[in-house]
Structures are given as structure tokens and as C-alpha cells.
Amino acid sequence: MGALFRGKDPQDVSFNCYLAPDAGILPKVTVSQVYIQVLHFSHEANLMQKENQHSNENPGEFSIEKASLTAEFFETLLMNANVWIAFLDPKGSIVVWNTAAEEISGYTAGEVRGSNDIWKKLYPDPEYRKVVTEKINDAILNRQKLEHFETTILSKERVKKQISWNTREILDQNNETLGYIAMGRDISEIVSLGTKFRTLLMNANVWVAFLDSQTHIEVWNNAAEEISGYTADEVTGSNDVWKKLYPDPEYRKSVTDKILDIIANKKDIENFESKIISKDRSQKIISWNTRELKNGDGNTLGYIMIGRDITTEKKLHAEMIEYIGESAMRLKNPVEVIKYNMDEMIKRLEKGECTTEDLILQIKIQTKNAEQIVENLHELNRAVSLVFEDMPPELKRFLSE
């Protein structure tokens, strides 16, 4: 004897199945029959792909007799599925509570079956529970399924967990409600990782922006706000901020052309420098690294832009070059001056044109010149040590002595 079950959605496939001896709380439908619906629902919800392989191959022709699968098989399958599976009767009382449900919630099937009190324990905050319940009731009323509905539960061990729910109403062949299936996936770790990643991204000390495929800004981290002066609220959802950052239309065009050219050649942008005007009208130099992000089908998801404010670095570099030029002028040539002065003094001595007094004076003058040149050199060394911070300590010490 078999029973035919068909979900409301015409995509659902009907099954033939055995009546299991233990009808349990459901007089009209067997636990095994529920399992089959659950099995198929779980396949649609893409939650149990491995377990549904057989039904994937023959979705329209699946029958227990042909597959030689028993109700016990399905029971084992569903009870041991690695996702939370709960079946509720039309009044909302728990009928099925699988092992994963026990593990995630901390409540055994024995503690929860036969009532709907469990939800008060899982959602102890009445306000929050009301929000969740309203969402679910709304779906029920409109006879719609809920997919990827995320809630935060409090397990028996008082641990908060994030659950992603897929729920659906189960109907019999007369379109009468048999009950409701709820499948939950514990995404706590994913959310935690996601939160950690987002925290990392938002607090990175470089400008991070994510643009969608239309180049509208989706993500604008704290460093982007700090450097540009524009908050995430001001920029997300559009690409207008670039007109503000590059107010000169010609310069903006040259920057855009360069970026588009690189992207058109399917290259990533590396260390591309541009000058922006921040909100406080100050000019900053940014070094950009940009990459196009694609999905598995090769379609553009968007663009990630990482910018480093190198304004100070550039300024220091320019100052260093200027300083080196100045120092060369104040070191190289003065040494030559000393040399020629001494040469001149030697010639005078040789000719007898130089008195001892003159000689002493000239030597003292050149000594003073040399002292000053040494001081100038020390100054240069100190400047070099400051700019080149990664210089070995022993070299720094040598330069400063």
C-alpha cells in the first residue's frame, strides 16, 4: 500500500512509499512518508546532496519498491542528517526532532516532542521571539516557503548560535496541511568568520572598497572614510564619489581611461598612483591595487580596490632628494675649495710669498671649513637614518658617530 504525497509546488515529485507500522502522532501519514518528503525537500533546499543522489538521478520515478529502500532506511537517513530537521504538526507541536537538532539545540527529542514550548527556550527574549514568529506565521499564512531565514537561538548550554532556516508546509493529496518541515543549518562558525572577516576588512589600515559589476560602491571601510573624508553612508550605492575625489574632469578622465585600459587587457591594477582631493580639500596621493572578482561562471561580480595613502611617503622622498642635492652641494664643492686653497698656499710657500702668519691663518681657515663640512655630513647622515628606517642598527650607529 502506498500513499501519494504531493507538495503544493508543482515542481515537487510524488513518491510511492510504504506505510510504516509506527504511525505515531500522525494518523494519516507515516513517519517514513514524512521522511521521503523531507528527503526531497532537503534536496531542493540543497542541503543534503549526497543523500539525495539516487533521487536526483530518477526524480520522477523514485519508488521504494524499485530502489529496495525501506522506511527504516529513510528514518536512519533523516535522523542522522547533518542538518537540523524538525517536523511540526499543523498545530505546531514537534513531531520529529533529529539528532542534529538535538546536538545543535542541546534539547533531546524526548524533551521537545509533543509540544511547541521549545521555541520559548530557543528564543527566550519575547520581543525577538515575536519577530521570528511573525516572520514564520506570515509565510504560513501566505503558504510560502521560507528560505535562508537566519535567526539566533539560545541552546540549552546557553550558547548563542546562528541558524539558517528553510521551512515549508507539507500538504497531502487533498492539499490539506500535514504539517511543517523546518531544516536548520548551524552557520555560527560561518557568521563568526564572516564577522571576523568584516571586522578585519573594515579595520584594515588600507583603503578597501568593493564595487559591484556596475561600479557602484558596496563596501567602504574605515580607512577609506578616513583618507577620503567621505563616510560609507555618503558613497555606498553609487559611483558619484569619484567625481568628488577627482574634481578635475580631464584628470578624472585620464585616471578612468588608465583603469579601464588595464581592466580591458584583463590585468590587475598594481601600484597605480593617483592624486585625490579629499573632502577637506587636501590633496593626497594614493597607490592603488585593484582586481576584478568573478564567480565560478566567469561573470564579473565586482571589483575590489585597495588603496594605500602614500602622500607622506612621497613628500619624504621628494624632501630627501632635495636634501641630498643640497648636501652634495655643501659637501662636494667645499671640499674642492679646501683642496685648491691648500694647493694655492703650497705654491705661495714654494715661492716664498707666504709668511708664517699667513700660513697659520690659512690652515686655521681651512680647518674651520673642514669642521663645518664634517658637521654638514653628520646632518646628512642623521637625515638619511631617519628616512631609511630599515637601515641596519650598526650602520645607523656608524653614521651618527
Binding site: R330, K332, N333, P334, E344, E353, I365
Partner: protein, 182 residues
């Protein structure tokens, strides 16, 4: 060397560039040319002391009555002025631009009415003691003063001894650049 003397006595300032080994020789040539034309020369020296320059000028046949010295190196080197110095103002330190400026101003007042040339020897020896920023400020001050008073001047410098940006600024203060042919 032929300095372009202006018969209308309009003050002109020149940057004279020389090889380092010829700098003293160029100094003597310039002073001789100026004094031979009947002008009075004020020599600001941060390179050679009064006593050496005086002997060189005498040896070169220069009439020292027409030469006034501003010696910014002797007192710095030996801590005192040269004894028996004539027509010489001593500045205690080559980096003391204020005193140097005052000395020039006072001398110009003192010899007002005469045709005067002011010679700075040399830009490069000044750079031992002061930065290019302060040097250009000082030279701007001196050249501006000379132009107001219609007084001509010569800045002696070593060719290829000044960086391009400093040279560009100096070129802006002078009316012409004369490069030594030697």
C-alpha cells in the same frame, strides 16, 4: 675678463662662474677691471682672509684705495681681526648674514656718491656655512639693495658647484651670467 660696464651707471648684477682652481684668479681679475675703470669695489669674502687678498691685489697692481673689504672669515678662524687692517670690516662668522648685511649697508652709506661695485667671493664658500635657502635669501637682499641704489655687483661661484634649483633662483636675481672661458 670683460665685465659689461654700463655708461649710464645703471646697476647691473652678474653671476660669474669659474673653475674652482681659478676662483682666486677670477676674483683678482674682476677687482682689477673694476678699479681700473675708476670704480670702487666692496669685496665680501667668505673664502680668503683680508691679509691674503690684500697681498694678491697689490701683486696684481690693484689700487687698494679703491677697495673696501668685508672679511667674514679671519675673525672666525683665529678669533681676532688682522692687525693694521685698512678699509676692512670684520664679521665674526661667515654664517652671520645679519652682520654681513649691516656691513654692506654701512659701507654703501660711507662711500655714497661714488661708482661702486659689490663683489661676493664666493657663493660656494658661503654654502659651507649656510643652507641654500638662507643663501638665496641673503643674495636676494643684497641684489635688491644694489638695484635700488643703482649699484652694480658680481657674484663669484664655482661652475657646476651649485645644484640646478639653487642656480635657477640665483639666475633670477642677476642680470646676466658670465662663464669663464678657461
Amino acid at each position: 675678463m670683460d665685465l659689461p660696464f654700463n655708461e649710464d651707471n645703471e646697476g647691473m648684477i652678474y653671476l660669474v662662474l669659474s673653475e674652482p682652481r681659478n676662483l682666486r684668479k677670477k676674483n683678482i681679475e674682476v677687482i682689477k677691471e673694476i678699479t681700473d675703470k675708476g670704480f670702487t669695489a666692496i669685496v665680501i669674502s667668505t673664502n680668503d682672509p683680508y691679509s691674503v687678498l690684500r697681498k694678491d691685489y697689490l701683486k696684481g697692481g690693484i689700487n687698494l684705495e679703491n677697495v673696501h673689504f668685508i672679511d667674514a672669515i679671519t675673525k672666525y678662524a683665529i678669533g681676532k681681526e688682522s692687525e693694521g687692517a685698512v678699509n676692512c670690516t670684520f664679521v665674526n662668522n661667515p654664517s652671520n648674514l645679519t652682520d654681513m648685511g649691516i656691513a654692506v649697508t654701512e659701507l654703501l652709506k660711507h662711500i655714497e656718491g661714488d661708482n661702486v661695485w659689490v663683489i661676493l667671493d664666493s657663493v660656494n664658500s658661503m654654502l659651507i656655512y649656510i643652507s641654500s635657502v638662507n643663501l638665496t635669501k641673503f643674495i636676494h637682499f643684497i641684489t635688491s639693495k644694489l638695484k635700488i641704489l643703482d649699484i652694480s655687483g658680481v657674484l663669484l661661484a664655482v661652475e657646476n658647484g651649485i645644484d640646478p634649483s639653487t642656480l635657477a633662483q640665483l639666475e633670477g636675481f642677476v642680470d646676466g651670467i658670465i662663464k669663464s672661458e678657461e
